[in-house]
Symmetry: C2
Subunit: 331 residues, 2 copies
């Protein structure tokens, strides 16, 4: 089988292998939100996934596919935080070691948790250093396998399991149910979740409309889909959506997302704030700003998806309470 | 089939009928909590159930079993809040009307939500009025079916679906897994969740140790199990666990819980506070004080359940953010 091919069957097979390690996160609905959009909005609550974000799926998939030899040498990755935590725990569960290259200004909670799972952290400066070359250097020097956060086939297979579970959740609700998602809004940093989950959603319903979700000033996917080529954001302005501040769609993920017909959406920080409040009000849980971007995009495009079954993946919940309260209250 | 009999088969059958309306809430674990107790603690997150608590299960089960005639006349119930919301939504989904008898000092969020689902509310004073006779009067005058919060066979069947899902969740984690819960801690107001879920847990593993969880000064189950008869708490002192302040075990539920070998645990408000913080730190979500009582009881009995698979049901999450913050910070 061609390793460099992402399809439903491969994602399904990988799911069977790793599902024992994953949380089957719930698919939640709210009357308030359904009424607001005159639609059936389903939230896949990946903030409740192990390590607090969907990134554990890809990390787990990648680490589970290593050879015995590779497990002996360990892994290395670079990440603003959620992939780091995912890799750290996946490495621990597979009894290997992990070294993580993280920005020195990553949210404290993400740094603490990464340490908690026993990984070693190497800090870098987001505005000066090139995290990719630091990661490659470590991989070379210590013979570790570099697991990139999105441009990695095994990671993409893992990220596809989020949509796979969501479809199972939807159909389990009724016996012999043939319900399908008519649309999905999926946040993108490098586009791994979109690539994996988009592939599953299109396989299940070829008419499913797919949208990426990004902050306005980090909308490289939105621009790239318009231009039909990978566009680089030059912004150095960091905002509240730390997990989505990747300047260019992935080399591997972008063609997959184009093939699946993704279109781009983006939203302001204020919409993200409102979305976070709405999620707390309806589900009583915290999502990090990046985790609320899908709903934020829908808030800015209220009439986009009427009378449809819409999947929104709440991608993560890793934010400390002080930062959360500050963001929610606009401080 | 004897209506007045609660067993696994009946709970399983009822689950097949209503599962399309329920959220399959996730079974969550935390390394921190597992290490603390040297055990495998599984949290069933019923704060993510529809209406924010497990009470929707029983309400849904009871309303789904009504005749066409009864659906026409509507239902009535009395509740401090979570059963009220459950009945209100279950009535709405089954296209019938609900009248709810609620204490006038019930948490605002519970009153608001009950109204939101379209139910009519009749307020009473917890220290003066007898909610049961108010409910019976309305049932008589308006020909409504009174659905009691725990002393109702259909409600108990519905509450059993929480443990049923938890066992499914546990076993789905690995193919052909024979994993079992060795113990469970289940909060009790009138004992409906304990009666339904305890029956399922004992059917699945007859060696499963079952514990009820209550606040120290509302520990009627703990006392009743010791005395081997239903004991009434005379305390009028209301605390933070509003959902658990029922003075005496149910008439129907108590013999079931005795038969299943339940023992009683109780905890202080301070332990509840610590448990709520621990849950927020590990899962990033809010549980109401009553929802954290199971973990609070384990905190006060740290060595009770070493090296076991322990189920704790986080029963609900209905608390407004101001009250939550006040309680968490001990105000």
């Amino acid at each position: 089988m061609n390793k460099n091919l992402i399809n439903f069957q491969k994602i399904n097979n990988r799911y069977e292998e790793i599902k024992g390690l994953l949380v089957d996160t719930p698919l939640l609905q709210s009357d308030e939100i359904n009424s607001l959009f005159s639609s059936n909005i389903f939230f896949k609550a990946e903030n409740l996934q192990k390590t607090g974000s969907f990134k554990f799926r890809g990390a787990c998939s990648a680490v589970s596919s290593l050879s015995m030899e590779q497990i002996k040498s360990g892994v290395v990755c670079f990440s603003s935080g959620n992939h780091a935590q995912g890799i750290a725990l996946a490495a621990k569960l597979h009894k290997t070691t992990a070294k993580i290259v993280m920005p020195k200004d990553a949210p404290k909670i993400k740094i603490q948790n990464t340490k908690k799972y026993g990984a070693k952290i190497v800090f870098y400066d987001r505005d000066i250093d090139d995290r990719e070359s630091i990661g490659e250097q470590i991989a070379h020097d210590e013979n570790r396998v570099l697991i990139k956060p999105f441009d990695n086939y095994d990671v993409i297979l893992g990220q596809g399991t989020a949509a796979l579970q969501a479809i199972n959740n939807l159909q389990e609700k009724e016996k012999n149910s043939q319900q399908k998602f008519d649309a999905a809004i999926i946040c993108t940093s490098g586009g791994g979740l979109a690539a994996g989950s988009g592939t599953v959603l299109k396989f299940h319903n070829s008419d499913c409309s797919l949208y990426t979700a990004e902050p306005h000033n980090w909308n490289d996917h939105e621009k790239s889909f318009e231009l039909k080529e990978r566009f680089t954001i030059n912004s150095q302005k960091h905002g509240i959506c730390d997990a989505l501040e990747n300047p260019i769609p992935g080399e591997i993920t972008f063609p997959i997302n184009v093939k699946n017909g993704f279109r781009g959406l983006s939203a302001s920080e204020n919409s993200v704030r409102i979305a976070m409040q709405m999620i707390m009000r309806n589900f009583n849980f915290i999502v990090e700003p990046s985790g609320a971007i899908g709903l934020a995009c829908l808030l800015e495009n209220e009439n986009l998806l009427k009378d449809k079954n819409v999947l929104i993946i709440l991608s993560g919940g890793n934010i400390d309470r002080t930062s959360y309260n500050n963001i929610i209250s606009g401080r």
